[in-house]
């Protein structure tokens, strides 16, 4: 293991791993975090070679120093993160939006795309960011990449589930109805999407079908039951009207 010196108040120790760095920051009582990081800056990628180790150090730092560390690792960050599950775990522990934003921006489009390889991974990453950071993640990944990850309605549903409701509608609009409707091949696909969307957007989706198309799509009573049981009351009323079916009483929906 290669070790690198840090010197505080004329006292020098050698640091070779993330754990050693974390304990050094601890004994310095958090009073020299930036000084230590600056002294080690050229070697931080060697000291912190993997995501679990990055997590160890990040837990010892204030938000400002977390930002400093992420930026110091810039070109190595995607390699250090290894895969989407580690990015998810790191985002889950971050409490400051500016740190999350810096992490995503530093990873950049290429870094994020190298980590997030399917819709489930994208959904798990989005699960731990909110608001503007959600939007930033989508922008960095790009609509074409989101389309590529959304191979089935269930994929798009998983991604939508992890977004704020305002962003759900926006993403559906950006992806385009043609693309979204193209993912719906049967009643179950329809159920996936309707379940993920707020009812106003669901109604917009359903309006793309006439009763004959909808009947053909759902196909049989079993899939109709499956779909119906997963709808919010407003959605259930809307689709029942659309299909010209006898409406059920509201309280039976919840049961």
């Amino acid at each position: 293991m290669s070790r690198y010196p840090i010197t505080i108040d004329q006292e020098t120790v050698q640091i070779g791993s993330a754990r050693e760095l974390a304990v050094a920051l601890d004994v310095l009582q958090g009073q020299y975090d930036r000084v230590v990081l600056t002294q080690l800056q050229p070697h931080l990628a060697q000291i912190i070679p993997q995501a679990s180790q990055l997590l160890t150090v990040m837990k010892s730092l204030s938000a400002d120093d977390q930002v400093f560390l992420i930026q110091a690792l810039h070109g190595n960050l995607a390699r250090i993160m290894q895969d989407a599950s580690h990015l998810r775990d790191l985002l889950a522990t971050l409490a400051e939006e500016k740190v999350e934003t810096t992490l995503l921006q530093t990873l950049g489009s290429n870094g994020l795309r190298s980590l997030i390889l399917n819709a489930e991974e994208m959904a798990e990453v989005l699960e731990w960011v909110y608001g503007h950071t959600d939007q930033l993640a989508l922008e960095l990944l790009g609509l074409d990449y989101v389309r590529n990850l959304s191979r089935e309605a269930a994929d798009l549903s998983a991604i939508l589930h992890s977004l704020d409701s305002s962003l759900q509608a926006k993403l559906v609009d950006q992806l385009g109805w043609e693309f979204c409707l193209g993912l719906v091949r049967d009643g179950r696909d329809l159920a996936y999407l309707l379940r993920a969307l707020p009812s106003a957007v669901s109604e917009r989706l359903l309006k793309h079908y006439n009763p004959v198309q909808l009947t053909r799509l759902i196909g049989n009573s079993r899939d109709w039951k499956y779909l119906y049981q997963r709808l919010e009351p407003e959605e259930a009323d809307f689709i029942t009207d659309l299909l010209g079916l006898e409406p059920k009483r509201r309280n039976s929906h919840a049961s």
């Binding site: 840090i6 754990r19 009582q29």
Partner: protein
């Protein structure tokens, strides 16, 4: 016991930061209590351990695995890395002893001498537990220096562990204690003195006392004097004083939170504990009780300095070195080298 994610050593923003604690105690000592694997049985390895011992002024270390392993269940999206990291159960993991033995044997002989490994990977409620110990001594006769840390009463960990609740007076341990007595080996026990909400009296102490009294030839080491997180009782030093006075085969280690909670609260040594330690220093060891976080050995043991400074030279040397050396040193190879201590033949007196 084992703390990993909840360190004993914590930041105090009003204390001036310094790199000095990384260099360990100013007194060279034996760490009498160290888990070299974590709860998913990972270890940084023997070279890493010795490296950090050197950096932390630690001459020798009493090491052991962890007898239980945390399950990664179907409901854990993230793999839990600590026994409290999720609701998943723990199960007895005998291979922990093989990990420790192989870790030690991978080191050069002169470096192996700085480690005193103990056997812990058995279910203490299994009547066959002693067979595991016999098997390990047969397989690695020159490695082991005793038995421990046996995890018995341990609040949440007890609840998480599959099977019957382990306790110091479980009859499955009787052959283990006897084996240790027969071969003059120490047994290090983790036995909470009480349960989490019974902080007015030690409801489990009698279990320990039954074992210690039943096996007066077995040297039993009471890990961190029976204290655990959220486990405390009044009159602690009087209780430990009575136990040490009453049972000459009982030893204790000062490790983990016993030090911060009652021995040296707020960094100020308790005069009662200083007096008790002077009285029984030949029965008390020091330890870190870290779980595979070797890089924390320095700060963990350096925090004892303020207490050690208050002791006489004799007591200090006993705590830092002599007691642990006498308990755990010179035990390797004992089991194969000589038969078990035999009972004198009974001769019926003639008429």
């Amino acid at each position: 016991m084992p703390h990993e994610q909840i360190p004993t050593w914590t930041r105090n923003p009003v204390t001036p930061g310094s790199l000095t604690p990384l260099k360990g105690s100013k007194y060279k000592l034996i760490d009498g209590h160290l888990h070299v694997v974590n709860f998913i049985q990972e270890t940084p390895g023997g070279e890493n351990l010795l490296d950090h011992m050197d950096r932390s002024n630690i001459g020798k270390t009493v090491i052991f695995g962890l007898p239980v392993s945390k399950m990664w269940t179907s409901y854990d999206r993230e793999g839990p890395d600590y026994y409290l990291a999720s609701d998943s159960p723990c199960y007895y993991y005998a291979y922990t002893d093989v990990i420790v033995a192989e870790m030690v044997r991978s080191l050069p002989a002169d470096r192996q001498e700085r480690l005193y490994p103990l056997i812990c990977g058995f279910n203490p409620t299994d009547g066959y537990a002693f067979r595991h110990i016999e098997r390990l001594f047969a397989q690695y006769p020159d490695v082991w220096g005793g038995v421990g840390e046996v995890l018995l009463r341990h609040d949440d960990l007890t609840a998480f562990t599959f099977g019957e609740n382990a306790r110091a007076n479980h009859r499955a341990l009787w052959p283990v204690y006897q084996f240790a007595a027969d071969h003059d080996l120490p047994v290090l026990l983790h036995q909470n003195i009480t349960s989490v909400t019974k902080n007015d009296h030690p409801v489990y102490l009698w279990e320990l006392e039954e074992a210690v009294a039943e096996f007066p030839r077995t040297r039993i080491v009471f890990a961190h004097c029976g204290m655990s997180r959220r486990v405390n009782v009044p009159f602690y030093y009087q209780m430990v004083d009575r136990l040490l006075a009453q049972y000459s085969n009982l030893y204790v280690d000062y490790s983990w939170i016993i030090y911060d909670v009652v021995i040296c609260p707020d960094g100020k040594p308790s005069p009662d504990w200083v007096a008790l330690t002077e009285k029984y220093s030949d029965r008390i060891c020091l330890g870190s009780d870290l779980v595979a976080r070797f890089e924390r050995m320095g700060p963990e043991l350096q925090r004892y300095d303020v207490f050690l400074d208050q002791l006489s030279e004799t007591a200090r040397v006993n705590l830092c070195w002599n007691t642990a050396e006498r308990l755990y040193g010179r035990n390797k190879g004992k089991v194969k080298a000589r038969p078990a201590i035999s009972v004198p033949e009974w001769k019926i007196p003639g008429p």
